[in-house]
């Protein structure tokens, strides 16, 4: 029973959500919106499971004085600070001038922007390793990447700018690669993904794929 009912739910809901696409008539036209709301509500409840887990593990770490336990203190304190600022702020918790907004602007934002920005370094180091003519396939990767990079910045202007007006051969090559061979590969990948998702979704709906539900107990 513990597995059968979920499988029935998956089947019925799955079929209903495929069909809703083709039925514009109410109530089917509301399904997608309704599900998105429901999902957000379920996720908002579930996040407490995660948060409690984070707190539990951090507190155990502090209590047992495990390695790096000091940083667990930082996690707990900053979590409590942000959460309290958020809950105390009421519905308008995000309006400029609140404590929550200040923490967001001056701590959250620089951290996430910098973490995002270190990608620039990793893009450089990854291309150094990957763009190497080991074999034909790797050479194609190298050549395409190389040519596209050349056309993206000012090499045209620096090399030819003083000689010719609006002469940008590198940019043209770069655009050609992007618009044609790149496009072709992207399409094959995307069509493949569509088929993969259709077939996986079908396996899920039919209950053939059920390992995400866990065991039979």
């Amino acid at each position: 029973m513990r597995r059968e009912i979920p499988l029935i739910i998956t089947f019925v809901v799955g079929v209903a959500f495929v069909i809703q696409y083709f039925i514009p008539h109410s109530p089917f036209d509301r399904f997608e919106q309704l599900f998105s709301d429901w999902f957000f509500i379920i996720a908002a409840c579930a996040i407490w499971l995660g948060a409690l887990n984070l707190m539990k593990l951090s507190l155990i770490k502090i209590q047992k004085r495990r390695k790096d336990w000091q940083y667990a203190v930082v996690i707990v304190v900053s979590w409590l600070t942000m959460a309290i600022a958020g809950f105390a702020g009421g519905r308008d918790f995000q309006t400029p001038g609140t404590a929550f907004d200040w923490l967001y602007q001056y701590i959250y934002t620089p951290l996430s922007a910098t973490m995002f920005a270190i990608l620039a370094f990793f893009v450089a180091s990854a291309s150094y390793r990957a763009f190497r003519a080991r074999n034909l396939q790797a050479s194609l990767l190298l050549v395409a990447g190389f040519l596209v990079m050349m056309g993206r910045v000012l090499f045209d202007d620096i090399l030819f700018g003083r000689l010719f007006e609006n002469f940008q051969p590198l940019a043209d090559v770069s655009n050609f690669i992007m618009n044609y061979p790149n496009m072709a590969g992207q399409r094959a990948i995307m069509i493949g993904i569509a088929l993969g998702i259709v077939s996986t979704a079908l396996r899920i709906i039919l209950g053939i794929e059920r390992s995400y539900l866990g065991g039979g107990d």
Binding site: L7, I9, T10, G14, F17, L34, D37, W38, F39, I41, I42, A43, A46, I47, W48, L49, A51, L52, L54, Y71, I75, V76, S78, T81, M82, A85, G86, F87, Q94, Y106, Y108, S112, T114, A117, I118, L119, V123, Q137, L141, A144, G145, F146, V148, R152, Y180, P181, N182, M183, A184, G185, Q186, R187, M190, G192, I193, I197, A201, L202, I205, Y212
Partner: protein, 228 residues
């Protein structure tokens, strides 16, 4: 000298994260711990106000009030969402934790249904549609399809056709990659490699932009802003 606390905190955190590139160190560990704590706190508060209050309470409360007046409103359906959310939380009680499979089954079922159709349309059918163009030759504009404008475009169209076709051959699972079929699959991998190289090269610029933004912050807002 002009001291701005927010800017100094920003600089401290920015440099702390960047220091990880040299090696793992206490400065980074502090920034990491702050980041995990602050962002987890941010999400729990936002989800509470934006989902539980704005989506659940605001929709459900008026519907329940109306119910007492004998009206049955569409928004009463949100009651089900509330129950499913509570079922999810029952995971905290091991004996009846299995009940959380119900909301999970609903989420996965709905996702399977929705993505089935959305991917079929936008990734499948639409991409096939876009690939269908005349490969060469002058075309009268009668049918409303774009005529082949230049030789470059004509060659490009042939490339797209070959690339998409052989790329699909590569993804075949139930046929061995040998002989003519294997050759086509090989050409397919060439196209995939060009695609990966090109998208990689194309993205370098936008990633550099992000770092430029941070360096600009350090140089102009922090150093120049503080020391004039």
């Amino acid at each position: 000298m002009h001291f701005d606390l927010g800017v100094w905190i920003g600089a401290f955190l920015t440099l702390g994260i960047i220091s990880f590139l040299y090696k793992d160190n206490p400065w980074y560990k502090i920034c990491e711990a702050i980041f995990v704590g602050i962002s987890a706190g941010y999400w729990i508060a936002s989800l509470f106000w934006q989902n539980l209050v704005s989506k659940l309470y605001d929709n459900l409360a008026p519907a329940i009030v109306a119910l007492f007046h004998g009206q049955i409103q569409y928004n009463l359906l949100y009651l089900v969402a509330g129950i499913l959310g509570i079922m999810m939380l029952l995971r905290l009680i091991p004996q009846i934790g299995w009940i959380s499979r119900w909301p999970l089954a609903l989420v996965v079922g709905a996702t399977a249904g929705l993505q089935f159709i959305n991917y079929l349309v936008s990734n499948g059918v639409k991409q096939i549609y876009n690939t269908i163009v005349p490969v060469f030759g002058p075309v009268s504009d009668a049918g409303g399809i774009p005529p082949v404008a230049t030789t470059g475009e004509g060659i490009g169209n042939v490339i797209i056709l070959i690339g998409t076709f052989t790329g699909l051959v590569y993804f075949f699972f139930s046929k061995e990659h040998k002989g003519l079929f294997g050759g086509a699959a090989k050409v397919g991998t060439w196209f995939l490699m060009i695609t990966f190289g090109a998208s990689f090269g194309y993205t370098v610029m936008s990633r550099m932009s992000l770092l430029i933004g941070r360096i600009d912050f350090l140089v102009n807002d922090w150093i120049r802003g503080t020391f004039g």
